[in-house]
Amino acid sequence: GKANDTLVYASDSEPENLSPYHNSLREGVILSRNVWDTLLYRDPKTGQQQPMLATAWTWVDPLTLDLTIRDGVTFHNGDPLTPEDVAFTFNYVLTPEAKIVTKSNVDWMKSTEVTGPHSVRIHLKAPFPAALDYLAGPTPILPAAYFKKVGLDGFSKAPVGTGPYRIVSTASGKGVKMARNDAYWPGSPIGKAKIGKLEFRVIPDGDSRMAELMTGGVDWIWRVPTDQADQLKRDPTLTVLSAETMRVGFLQFDVQGRAQENSPLKDVRVRQAIAYAIDRKAMVDNLVRGGSRVMNALCFIEQFGCTDEGVPVYSYDPAKARALLKEAGYANGIDLDLAAYRERDYAEAVIGYLRAVGIRVRLNYLRFAAFRDAVRGGKVSIAYQTWGSYSIDDVSAFTPVFFGGGDDDVTRDPTVIAELKAGDTSIDPALRKAKYAEALKRIAAQAYALPMFSYPSNYAFTADLSFTAQADEIPRFYAASWK
């Protein structure tokens, strides 16, 4: 709290490893942004890259990037930052022995070499336009000497970085305590942290988190369900922020009919009937709320290439749904199963709607891993999927994942696959848009999947705290302050 200048934030999961390259959780990303710096900094407002640990960078050619490393930066243990640290970090994480869990973040690099007392050179494997974005995000710089000394196990127990906060203590299952890095290098685009101490507490249970916030046990929580967020708003000691995110939920149908014999889902009329049977608007207005919107095309509407123009819209019409079912020869109703892995009440609401038109659905609520396996294995009739596009603002991060012929494509419509492929590989924006639009139209017309709505995110924190949320869902505590 403000009184002891300690911001306690709570979240549900505990990163398996505090080393930023060795976990894939949001909680890990948050720690990473507060404890480590990256070579570049991406301004969340403008989207522009700014100098951070690197003061300057030049492309020698599309496969070679030269960077100048800042002088006068020290790690939390007092070691000065040198180009060796940069080279070590990148070269180390590329080795298979490093066993990092987020390979895609670094494996565009081939190697990194020290080219002078203040410079390094990164060699790429292939041209990679997004390289600077990655250097400004998931590629923090580790202290070479310290890391070599203590090894990964030691490092994960007592991590050291250059960031605005340093880690004071960690305890398995409890969380992480951090203190402001008072020696933080001047001139950083993110500036010195304003709050003296930061504490991350793992509280797996959402209601406990809320109770803790209400009783002052923690100062900041997120992922508050909208119902509770509404209630918390009434509490004058709390501030609640709600915002839409890029996550979109959708029903993915077993079009190939693998999950059950003579699957009714092979019939487009049945899939359409399902689409008509669900009152997505009512769900958004009454259940989901918090700025969410109904989606009609299978992507997040703000993404590049995502459009619902010309895409058939299935508005709530249970009579029509029943008529379609009858037409398809299922006047007596059908039995299906639905698998889901989060927001159980949304899935339940869907089941409730389907039940009203005579589609009896059995819910199979699974952990994500099991859910994914079941869907890919063709054991699920209706999968309640959600997708957050890795926060990437381009439809290529969404639709092709589920319709581009990959593991998660259970439809395997060659036409759609071809159209998406064309969109993904083209460099012409207009052509891309056109191809994606065709694919999205076909998906909707065939009702291969039913897009539901975008998901909101709710933050709640003590009213003493001044905190701004970003669209990328990475809370930046170093920028927060007490009112």
Binding site: D207, P225, D227, N286, G352, N364, L366
Partner: protein, 313 residues
């Protein structure tokens, strides 16, 4: 043990030839009749039987007594408070849940699930445990040693954890819950029937039956089982209660029965996010659970008391 004749006849032995003077036999009742008579004056038993009877009745007549379809949702009428609340409505006596389903109707249908789980888990575990216990108690020796060993091993396994792990691997559902609980909760049956069987077997009437040329089947069926039946009923009620509570706990942890089935444990789990602002969503199913389990326990205690052998205490 000393014996108290009803009316001590006097000294000189009666000539055996003549039938003894017609001794006035005290009023006789069958053991069942005695238990019933005792039951009717046993407060706990009556309360327990009343509660359980009521819930069984409600469960059987669910389609008749439930005011609404327990699955019918209306997301525009979510979280209506119960009728005693200022904002309650007579349409939904106990209000509605997060999807606008009638809470009373869900509660009523939920009783079916709790009873189903309690009864079937107790049946499965009862069959397993009683078989093991009776065999161990009757044959003793090596059979007994093996059974005791199996029971000890089973007791060493943490039930909740094992049930969770199994449910998670197979995927939770009503069937899985029943099977997992049925196959985990037999230990007390085994322990109790073993002890009871040993006790009965040591009695001379079993020896008499054996000496009369009864086979093992007849002895188990006619001499042993009827005499351990009351112990069995008591354990069955305990295990029913236990299974119902465990189902609730598993469902609460998300690995029990699956929605939209209105299991009471699931209702508590689903109501949990609302507990601070709409506390009734967890208090109502919670109280229902307590009442049912309490009723079953009282019934079990009552059965034990009223079937206890007569004797001075």
């Amino acid at each position: 043990m000393t014996v108290r004749p009803a009316s001590p006849p006097l000294g000189t032995p009666a000539p055996a030839e003549t039938v003894l003077p017609e001794t006035v036999l005290p009023p006789s009742r069958s053991p069942a009749a005695i238990a019933l008579r005792r039951g009717l004056s046993h407060g706990g038993f009556l309360i327990g039987a009343g509660l359980v009877g009521l819930i069984v009745l409600v469960a059987l007549a669910a389609p008749l007594v439930a005011p609404h379809d327990p699955y019918a949702q209306d997301v525009s009428r979510r979280l209506i408070p119960p009728i005693w609340h200022a904002k309650g409505t007579a349409e939904h006596w106990l209000g509605t849940d997060k999807l606008g389903r009638d809470y009373l109707s869900r509660l009523i249908y939920g009783s079916q699930i709790s009873l189903l789980i309690g009864v079937s888990a107790a049946l499965i575990s009862g069959v397993i445990g009683t078989t093991l216990g009776v065999l161990a108690g009757y044959y003793g020796g090596r059979v007994d040693a093996v059974v005791s060993y199996v029971v000890t091993t089973r007791l060493a396994l943490p039930v909740v954890l094992v049930a969770l792990a199994m449910a998670s691997l197979v995927g939770g559902s009503l069937k899985v819950v029943v099977l997992v609980l049925g196959f985990l909760l037999w230990d007390r049956f085994a322990v109790v029937t073993r002890a009871a069987t040993r006790q009965v077997r040591a009695q001379d009437f079993v020896a008499a039956a054996k000496a009369s040329g009864f086979g093992a089947g007849r002895i188990l069926g006619q001499e042993i089982l009827p005499n351990i039946l009351n112990a069995l009923i008591v354990v069955a009620t305990l295990e029913m209660a236990h299974a119902i509570l465990l189902e609730a706990a598993l469902s609460f942890l998300g690995l029990g029965v699956q929605p939209p089935l209105p299991s009471w444990g699931l209702m508590i789990a689903e109501g949990k996010p609302y507990m601070f602002f709409q506390p009734w969503v967890i208090t109502i199913p919670g109280i229902a659970l307590v009442v049912l389990v309490l009723g079953i326990n009282l019934l079990g205690d009552g059965v034990r008391d009223i079937t206890a052998p007569e004797g001075r205490t």
